[in-house]
Amino acid sequence: MSDEVPRGAPTPEQRAHEFAEAAATGTSEQGGIDRRSFIGFVTGLTGGLAAGGLAGIGIGHWLADQEDDVVIATPQPSDDVAIVTPPTEGADTLIFYPRVKVADLADLEEGTPIPFEYPLVGQRAQLVKLGKPAQYGLGADADIVAFSTICTHMGWPLDGTFDPATCVFGPCPGHFTTFDAAVGGQVTLGQATQRLPQIVLAIEGDAIYAEGVLGLIYGYRQNLLDGTPVEVQT
């Protein structure tokens, strides 16, 4: 499985983008918050604390191991924290959603999903260009989306079920639930008690990144807990 999962190392452009985002959200030196004090704040977090609530800041790959030490990947090395490149290497627990390259735009073929795992190993997902506009669709046609492919009914795999004609994932091989990839993973018909979690994407240049998850992935109490973070290929 791991061989099939495309992974990309963060590019200089990505790092620059992260830094720019951090600035925009007021969490960098440029944004007015003292960098050292911000890092100190994060260092004080515990691994299990409200990671979902802090996700989306977009500052980068905030990681904490189980001893509550925080590691951070930043454009600039610092003595305050350990720098990890690739960003998730060596971390046991995520407290922020990492930003992980999933594919290049050129890799996309309409209606053909590209599998990946995010944010933990085993959290299978698929990236697909639908060919019609979609909820939170990216790209020139607003049709590039990604979803968890673990059925939220009873956990059966949805890999291989994407139907390009109708833009649904499913019917699930377990109990036939179908999820509309153009409507944010809403259940079209079926028994799942959650939408299919949509992966939050960003496009920078030609690269497509995963940087968050909307909704809880099947099997988990929290998307960032109880597993091993995916690693970026070096």
Binding site: V168, P173, A182, G184, R195, G219
Partner: protein, 840 residues
């Protein structure tokens, strides 16, 4: 876009309390476990550190989704509650399978931070057109004194009750004990029809109990006939766990999910024209007889002779019962029942009719008989009630589908079985008869005629649920809001005075006892706040008659009370004895002797008394794995009728197992499936010109009057409005695309008095190949958009049994314009009948 994006779910610590119950909604009655612990604590991800007993991340069927969790109060304390499909159960929802209805049960429980904040929490009185809070004491006083005035001044026929038939034995027993036993009114009707009585009379007249089967029969059958239902959407876990693998002949005017899956798995879908079931079933029966494939051994031994039929005491069986020879003669006397004749009526190709007969009844290659079972539901029996149920019952008898493993004929059920009579229905007081035989009272016609002065509606949206509902609503408005005085004071005596004056002016006083407001509440003078599922300990059976205890898992909101307690309080205020029950167990025990037939549970009560324990506690040991000391085999419920077995009791897997049937002779028989009666009725109620058939029914995610689902964010997200399945052809004709508002209207709705009226609903188009041109399909009871606005309410068209032709409405289509759901990523309009493989 949805706001239902939840990023985490709390994990119960190992010492969390665990209770067991069954689902509130569909008749499968899936098993659920309820895990409860104080807010503020959590367990860990290792199995040893949580009450789920699993390592996280959870594997297949072991996950708790965020919608399975809620925060509620229990015994006044704030607690986390998880309502999870029991991953260990081996009955019903084996392995924790579940539908989306039961899967979000936790969100049904009252949490004022959710849309359940709309629950009624205190009695309300309509004063100056506002519902204002009053005390229980005042509410009960008003109820009792106005009721007494109506009963003293008029008679018990002027005092009516409209009540669910299924919301737990203890409630239905208490309510019927008051209304039928003490007051003795025949003005009593269940939630689903205008009159008390048998819903499947044709089947009953064959001698077969409508709930005789076991789920195991679905799987054990070699082949199944399935008529008028889409069980994937409506009895989900029974379908996915028990029925799905059985080769099936599916009869349905829609090509929904189940129909397409049946075809994919090698079965047949007979997509008949609406209302033609009797012709199709008769043609299949004729073809079976023509080929000599009937179950001769069963027919010879277990069906009645002409002399036995003539000796029957029941007038319907005596009138319509047939021997095999008479049935055969009828089928072969009419060209409509040849494959080609039926094809012209039903639009099912003659070859498919022949193929269906072969699949259902042709012998195996070694000459042995196939085990055939017959299953059906409202698409069949709520279009042409008597004839269709006679046709399917007779076909079941012909196939020998009765009383044997894999061979049974049954309804699938629309809800669980929770009706228990605390007083027999006084049919002798009914104003209606047919050919000199007393039949139950058409309470809607009686009301529309202005005869009902006091109406007590319990746990149902009367207005939306009945046919020609716009006339019912209009009359309700006239008789409550526009007749006699309206209240200007919430003083109890003022209220009693004004309401009795209204009664004497020819008006009606309406009491609505419910969880949530609905269309009926618009006209209520008095609202009584009820408690629901999980807020009281009660008992009820599944569609295979499996009796469970439903444990209380949360407090009712505010002053809300269980229905039994409301009825008992009113009865005591009216001076009736026998209503001083301390709890539901006392009612359950008292009701034991009244629980006859398929519901008989009195042997459990007797055994409990012998053991010196409460009957509910004994039932709990059959319903709750903790009470059964960890044995799932013992905690799988117990199938009624319950039988004595030495020093213990045992259940009954299926009825008619001794091949005796519900008739005076103990024999089964055929019953006249009179196609001419259907055909003449269709001339009156069917569409013509540019009208289409307006079919209605359920949809997977929604349940009954949607009172609960529209207070669950997850379900509102999927169905923010009622939908209209419409074919490409009809959509093109009306200029409609998916997401457009459509006005569905008719000026030929036949009302309760047999007069034509106009009515309409506005629905969101969902263009699909699931319906053929000329046929549309919509949800039957969506608030504000009730399909029953367009169904006929003239029960004189079905005089045998006073049932509505709910499933064959008619109307015209008119595009209004785009809805807010069109092209807005709010509502999926993808096909709902995708079965994989050939879809792509």
């Amino acid at each position: 876009m949805t706001t239902d994006v939840q990023q985490s779910v709390p994990i119960p610590p190992p010492d969390a309390q665990v209770a067991y119950t069954a689902c509130e909604f569909c008749p499968v009655a899936c098993r659920y476990r309820v895990i409860r612990w104080p807010v503020g604590r959590e367990g860990g991800p290792a199995a040893a550190d949580n009450a789920l007993g699993v390592d996280l991340p959870a594997g297949i069927g072991q996950w708790v989704s965020p919608n399975m969790h809620n925060v509620v109060t229990f015994d006044g304390r704030l607690v986390n509650v998880i309502v999870q499909p029991d991953p260990n159960t081996d009955v019903g929802n084996v392995g924790g399978d579940h539908s989306v209805r039961g899967g979000v049960l936790a969100r049904k429980l009252y949490n004022p931070g959710t849309p359940t904040a709309e629950r009624f929490t205190t009695p309300l009185l309509r004063v100056r057109d506002q519902l204002v809070p009053i005390s229980w004491d005042a509410a009960v006083e008003i109820f009792a004194r106005v009721s007494e005035h109506v009963l003293d001044t008029y008679d018990e026929l002027a005092w009516g009750v409209k009540v669910y038939s299924y919301q737990y034995f203890e409630n239905t027993y208490a309510i019927s004990k008051l209304a039928r036993g003490m007051i003795g009114t025949p003005n009593w009707a269940p939630h689903h029809g205008p009159a008390e009585g048998d819903d499947t009379p044709g089947l009953s007249d064959c001698g077969i109990d409508a709930f005789s089967s076991a789920y195991a029969d679905d799987k054990e059958a070699d082949v199944m006939l399935l008529v008028g239902t889409d069980p994937y959407e409506t009895r989900t876990a029974r379908y996915t766990q028990w029925m799905q693998s059985t080769p099936t002949v599916d009869v349905n005017p829609r090509k929904g999910f189940t129909s397409r899956l049946v075809e994919k798995m090698g079965g047949l879908h007979l997509q008949l024209w609406p209302g033609t079931d009797t012709a199709l079933l008769n043609a299949i029966a004729r073809e079976i007889i023509d080929k000599g494939w009937e179950d001769t051994e069963f027919i010879d031994s277990y069906t009645a002779s002409r002399a036995e039929l003539d000796a029957e005491g029941g007038w319907r069986r005596k009138m319509f019962g047939l021997t095999f020879d008479e049935y055969r003669t009828y089928l072969f006397s009419k060209p409509e029942f040849t494959p080609e004749g039926a094809a012209a009526i039903t639009r099912v190709p003659a070859d498919k009719i022949r193929a269906a007969a072969e699949m259902l009844a042709a012998p195996n290659s070694d000459g042995t008989r196939k085990k055939t079972s017959v299953r059906f539901e409202k698409g069949l029996y709520w279009s042409h009630n008597y004839e269709n149920t006679a046709a399917i019952g007779s076909l079941g008898v012909l196939l020998g589908a009765a009383g044997r493993p894999g061979q049974s004929t049954s309804r699938l059920g629309g809800h669980q079985r929770g009706g228990l009579s605390g007083g027999s229905y006084p049919k002798d007081k009914s104003p209606h008869d047919y050919l000199g035989n007393k039949i139950e009272m058409d309470t809607d016609r009686w009301f529309v005629e202005g005869n009902t002065r006091f109406m007590w509606v319990i746990g149902t949206n009367w207005v939306g649920a009945m046919a020609a509902t716009e006339r019912l609503r209009e009359r309700l408005e006239e008789l409550t809001r526009r007749t006699g005085p309206q209240l200007t004071s919430s003083n109890t005596q003022d209220a009693i005075s004004a309401l009795t004056s209204r009664v004497d002016a020819g008006g009606t006083v309406l009491v609505h006892q419910e969880l949530y407001p609905n269309a009926t509440t618009e006209y209520a003078d008095l609202v009584l706040p009820a408690a629901g599922w999980g807020e009281e300990t009660t008992a009820r059976m599944s569609a295979e008659r499996r009796l469970y205890l439903y444990e209380k898992v949360a407090d009712p909101p505010g002053e809300a009370m269980p229905d039994w307690k409301i009825a008992a309080t009113i009865a005591q205020r009216m001076g009736f004895d026998g209503f001083d029950w301390p709890d539901t167990n006392a009612i359950f025990e008292e009701g034991g002797p009244a629980s006859g037939g398929r519901k008989a549970y009195n042997e459990l009560v007797i055994l409990a008394q012998e053991r010196g324990i409460r009957a509910h506690d004994l039932l709990k040991s059959y319903s709750d794995v903790t009470a059964a000391e960890g044995s799932y085999a013992e905690a799988s419920g117990i199938q009624c009728p319950i039988q004595r077995d030495g020093d213990t009791i045992k259940g009954t897997e299926r009825l008619h197992a001794d091949l005796t049937f519900k008739s005076d002779s103990g024999k089964a028989n055929f019953t006249l499936p009179d196609w001419d009666a259907v055909a003449s009725r269709m001339d009156i109620i069917g569409p013509s010109g540019d009208e289409v058939y307006v079919l209605n029914g359920r949809v997977n995610e929604l349940w009954n009057n949607v009172g609960d689902q529209l207070r669950m964010v997850y379900h509102i997200d999927r169905w923010p409005a009622n939908f209209l399945e419409i074919s490409d052809e009809d959509a093109a004709r009306a200029g409609v695309e998916s997401g457009d508002w459509v006005r569905l209207w008719s000026d030929r709705v036949i009302d309760q008095l047999g007069e034509e009226m106009s009515a309409e609903i506005t629905v969101v188009a969902y263009v699909t190949d699931a319906v053929p041109p000329g046929v549309v399909y919509t949800y039957f009871n969506y608030p504000g958009q009730p399909a029953n606005n367009l169904t006929s309410a003239d029960t004189t068209l079905q005089p045998l049994n006073l049932r509505y032709n709910f499933k064959v409405g008619r109307g015209k289509l008119e595009r209004i314009g785009p809805s807010e759901f069109k092209d807005a990523f709010l509502m999926s309009f993808a096909p709902r009948n995708l079965v994989g493989g050939t879809d792509a």
